[in-house]
C-alpha cells in the first residue's frame, strides 16, 4: 500500500563526484564537430573521451570495466553534462544491464569492458516489421545447426545506428512453442558476420538514425547466446524497463535545459507573449518538476531494493507527456523554427512525436499498467 518516508537526497559522496567531474570537464571540453563528421561518429569520439576519464559505466562493477558505484552516480554525470549542454553519456546503460543480468561470466568479462570503452559499439535488434510493440510476435528464427551453434534468418527494424555498430543484441525464436515467454533467446552478434546486411532508414526528421537489419543464414555460435535458451523474453523486459526511465536514458537534463530556456524567454519577452503561452510554459515547468520528483522517487525505491518492473510503464507515460508538451510549447515560443533550415528545436520536436511509439506505444503501456499493475481481468466471457 502506501510507502514510508523516502530519502530523495543525494548520498554524501555524490557532491564530491560532481566536483571531480566538473574539474575534469574543465580540462576536457567538448570537442567541436568536424564539418563532414556524422553525428554518431562525433558522439562516439566524445564517448571515448568520457571513458578515458572514467565517466562511463559508473554503476557497472569494477571487474567488468566500470567503477562499482550506484546508478545515482551515473545519473549525476549525465546531469552535469546536461547542465552544460554537452551530449550525455552514451546510451548503453540498458544494454550493460542486460549483459550483467543474463550474460555468463566469460561474456561479461569479454564484452562489457569493450562496450564501456567504446571499442565495441552496440545496437539493439528487437523490433521487426511484423513485431513492433507486439514484440512477442517476432518471426526471426535461430535454428540449431548439426555442427553446434545456430543459423539465424529474419529481419529487424528500428535498429538505431546499426550502420555505425560492431555488435547487435539480437532476439530470435529458438523454440517451437507459441509462447514468447519461453521460445525467444538473445544473442550478441557481430555485424560483420557474413549474411548480415544493414540498410539505413531515413526518419521524419531527415536523419538516418534507424536501420533495417537483414539476416540471411547468419552463423551464430552457442557461446554468443546471452542467457539460457528461452531467456530472451525476460531479458527484453528488463532492458525495456530500464529504457523507459527518464533517468536511465539521460533525457531529464536535456528537458531541464529547454525548460530554463523557455523561462528565460518568458522573462525577456514579458508582456509580449501571445495569450496563454505563459501558462503553457508554466505547465512545462510543472511537468519537468514532476518528472524530476518521480525519477528521484524511483531511484530512492531502487536503492531501497525494489527492482524495475511493470511500474516503468507509468514512468514512460509520464516522460512522454512531459516531452511532447514541452516540445509543442517550445515550437509555439520559437515559431521561427518552422521557417528555418534544420532548426534544432524542430528536430527535437519531431523526435518527441516518437516518444509515444518507441519502447512500446503509449497504448501498450496502458495495457501493461491495467493488467500487471492494477490486476484488471482479461476477457472472461463464458
Amino acid at each position: 500500500m502506501t510507502e514510508g518516508p523516502l530519502d530523495f537526497g543525494d548520498p554524501a559522496d555524490l557532491e564530491r563526484l560532481r566536483r571531480d567531474f566538473r574539474a575534469w570537464l574543465a580540462g576536457h571540453p567538448l570537442p567541436a564537430r568536424r564539418p563532414d563528421e556524422p553525428v554518431p561518429a562525433f558522439l562516439h569520439r566524445w564517448h571515448r573521451i568520457l571513458h578515458s576519464g572514467g565517466w562511463v559505466g559508473l554503476d557497472v562493477p569494477r571487474e567488468y570495466g566500470g567503477r562499482g558505484l550506484t546508478p545515482l552516480h551515473q545519473v549525476a554525470v549525465s546531469d552535469e553534462l546536461g547542465a552544460r549542454g554537452a551530449p550525455g553519456v552514451p546510451r548503453i546503460g540498458y544494454l550493460a544491464h542486460a549483459l550483467l543480468e543474463f550474460g555468463d561470466e566469460e561474456q561479461r568479462r569479454r564484452l562489457l569492458p569493450r562496450m564501456l570503452s567504446g571499442d565495441d559499439v552496440w545496437c539493439q535488434g528487437f523490433s521487426e516489421p511484423g513485431a513492433g510493440s507486439d514484440l512477442a510476435g517476432m518471426s526471426t528464427r535461430a535454428e540449431r545447426r548439426q555442427d553446434g551453434g545456430y543459423l539465424v534468418n529474419g529481419q529487424k527494424l528500428w535498429t538505431s545506428y546499426a550502420q555505425y555498430s560492431d555488435l547487435c543484441l539480437l532476439l530470435a525464436r529458438t523454440g517451437r512453442t507459441a509462447s514468447a515467454h519461453t521460445s525467444i533467446s538473445a544473442f550478441a552478434v557481430p555485424l560483420d558476420r557474413p549474411g548480415v546486411t544493414v540498410r539505413p532508414l531515413r526518419a521524419a526528421s531527415g536523419d538516418a538514425e534507424f536501420c533495417e537489419l537483414f539476416l540471411d543464414d547468419v552463423r551464430v555460435e552457442e557461446s554468443e547466446r546471452v542467457g539460457a535458451e528461452g531467456d530472451g523474453w525476460p531479458l527484453a523486459m528488463t532492458t525495456v524497463s530500464y529504457e523507459r526511465n527518464a533517468l536511465d536514458t539521460g533525457h531529464l537534463s536535456k528537458y531541464g535545459l529547454l525548460v530554463e530556456r523557455l523561462r528565460r524567454t518568458a522573462y525577456d519577452r514579458r508582456g509580449n507573449l501571445p495569450d496563454g503561452l505563459l501558462t503553457r510554459i508554466g505547465q512545462c515547468v510543472v511537468d519537468y518538476q514532476v518528472l524530476v520528483a518521480h525519477a528521484r522517487r524511483r531511484t530512492a525505491q531502487r536503492l531501497a531494493g525494489q527492482a524495475a518492473g511493470p511500474d516503468s510503464s507509468v514512468d514512460k507515460l509520464l516522460m512522454t507527456r512531459a516531452e511532447q508538451r514541452l516540445y509543442e510549447t517550445a515550437l509555439s515560443v520559437f515559431p521561427e523554427e518552422l521557417h528555418a533550415e534544420g532548426g534544432e528545436v524542430f528536430g527535437d520536436y519531431l523526435y518527441s512525436r516518437a516518444a509515444s511509439v518507441y519502447g512500446g506505444t503509449s497504448q501498450i503501456q496502458r495495457n501493461i499498467i491495467a493488467k500487471r499493475l492494477l490486476g484488471l481481468p482479461a476477457d472472461d466471457r463464458a
Partner: protein, 321 residues
C-alpha cells in the same frame, strides 16, 4: 521519527480513519463530527512538530495528510492539527490555550493585500483562526457564522482579524510556511484521488455488463491506467516537495511545493473524474461516496493557490504572489 514510530502513528491514524469515515453524505452530521474530532485530537498529532527539534519531518506530516485524505473524514487534520501549529511554531509562539485553524481569503486562496474578507478553513474543533497577511504579520481571527462550501466534509466559517499581531514571519519563514501549507493540502488531495481510483479499480474487477467484467474492456482499462499515472505524478510531486521543505532552502522548497500543488490541482480532479466514469450511474447518486471525493478535490484545487495563480508564477520565477 524512527521508522517504527512513524508506522505506529500512521497505523493509529489509519485505524481512526476506518472507524470514523462516513458511509455517505447523510452521515455527515454535527454530533458524529464533534465526536470524531475529539477522538482525532486525542491522538495528540498537533504536537508532532511542536518541540524545539520537531519530532516529525514535513515528509512524515505530508504522508499523514495523504492517509487522512484516503477516506471520507469530516475531521480537521490539516487546519487545526498540522497547519496552525506549524504557523505558531515558526512564530515561536507556542503555548496557546486556544485551538487554532488557519484563516484564508473568502475564495480560500492565500489572503491578498489590504484587509481581506476572511474565512476560517477546516475549522472543526477550532476556537479561533490565525491570519497571516502578505507582510508576514500573523493576527488572531475571531470565528463568525458558518460559511457555505461545496466540500461537505470540511467546515468553513467567516472570520475577522482582531487585536495586534501575535508576531511576524520573516521572508524565509513566510516561504517555509507557504511551502508547508501547499504540500500538506496537496498531499491530502493525492490521498483522496489515489484511494478513489483504487476503489474504482476494485469495482471494475467485479462489476459485470455484457456478460463480462467491465475491467476487461480495454476502454475501461486505459481510463484507469491514465488515472493511475495521474495519481503517481501527484504522489511523486508532493512527497518530493515535502522532502524539499525538510532539506532545501526555502525558495527552492516553495518552487517545488507550487509545482506539486499545480500538478495535483489538475491530476486529482481528472483522476476522480475517471473513477466516477467507471462507477457509472451509481456514482451520480447522493448516497454514493463519489461526490464527497469530487467535492473535496474540486474545492481543494482552489485552496491556497489555483492553477491560474501557479502556472504564470512558475513560468517566470521573478513573479510571485
Amino acid at each position: 521519527m524512527r521508522p517504527e514510530e512513524f508506522t505506529l502513528v500512521r497505523d493509529l491514524l489509519r485505524t481512526f480513519a476506518t472507524q470514523h469515515a462516513v458511509g455517505s453524505a447523510d452521515e455527515v452530521e454535527p454530533r458524529s463530527r464533534a465526536a470524531a474530532q475529539e477522538e482525532l485530537d486525542g491522538l495528540g498529532l498537533a504536537g508532532l512538530r511542536g518541540t524545539a527539534l520537531p519530532a516529525a519531518t514535513v515528509q512524515e506530516c505530508a504522508l499523514l495528510a495523504e492517509e487522512h485524505g484516503r477516506l471520507p473524514l469530516t475531521t480537521s487534520l490539516l487546519g487545526t492539527t498540522l497547519l496552525a501549529p506549524e504557523l505558531l511554531r515558526l512564530l515561536g509562539a507556542d503555548g496557546h490555550e486556544t485551538r487554532f485553524t488557519v484563516a484564508l481569503a473568502s475564495d480560500l486562496r492565500l489572503p491578498g493585500p489590504g484587509a481581506p474578507d476572511l474565512r476560517a478553513w477546516d475549522c472543526d474543533g477550532a476556537g479561533a483562526a490565525l491570519y497571516a497577511d502578505t507582510e508576514g504579520n500573523v493576527t488572531r481571527a475571531r470565528l463568525g457564522p458558518p460559511a457555505p462550501t461545496a466540500d461537505l466534509l470540511r467546515s468553513v466559517r467567516q472570520a475577522s482579524a482582531v487585536g495586534a499581531p501575535l508576531g511576524r514571519l520573516g521572508p524565509q519563514d513566510r516561504q517555509r510556511w507557504q511551502a508547508y501549507a501547499l504540500v500538506v493540502v496537496a498531499s491530502e488531495l493525492v490521498g483522496a484521488a489515489g484511494s478513489f481510483v483504487e476503489q474504482s479499480v476494485a469495482y471494475a474487477r467485479d462489476r459485470r455488463q455484457y456478460g463480462r467484467r467491465i475491467g476487461s474492456f480495454q476502454a475501461v482499462q486505459h481510463l484507469l491506467a491514465d488515472a493511475t499515472v495521474l495519481v503517481a505524478a501527484g504522489t511523486s510531486a508532493t512527497r518530493y516537495a515535502a522532502w524539499c521543505v525538510d532539506q532545501e532552502p526555502p525558495d527552492r522548497a516553495l518552487a517545488a511545493a507550487r509545482a506539486a500543488k499545480a500538478e495535483v490541482n489538475t491530476s486529482a480532479v481528472e483522476a476522480v473524474y475517471a473513477g466516477m466514469q467507471v462507477f457509472g450511474g451509481i456514482a451520480q447518486t447522493w448516497e454514493h461516496l463519489a461526490h464527497l471525493y469530487l467535492r473535496k478535490v474540486l474545492v481543494g484545487a482552489t485552496v491556497l493557490a489555483t492553477t491560474a495563480d501557479l502556472l504564470p508564477a512558475l513560468a517566470v520565477p521573478e513573479v510571485t504572489r
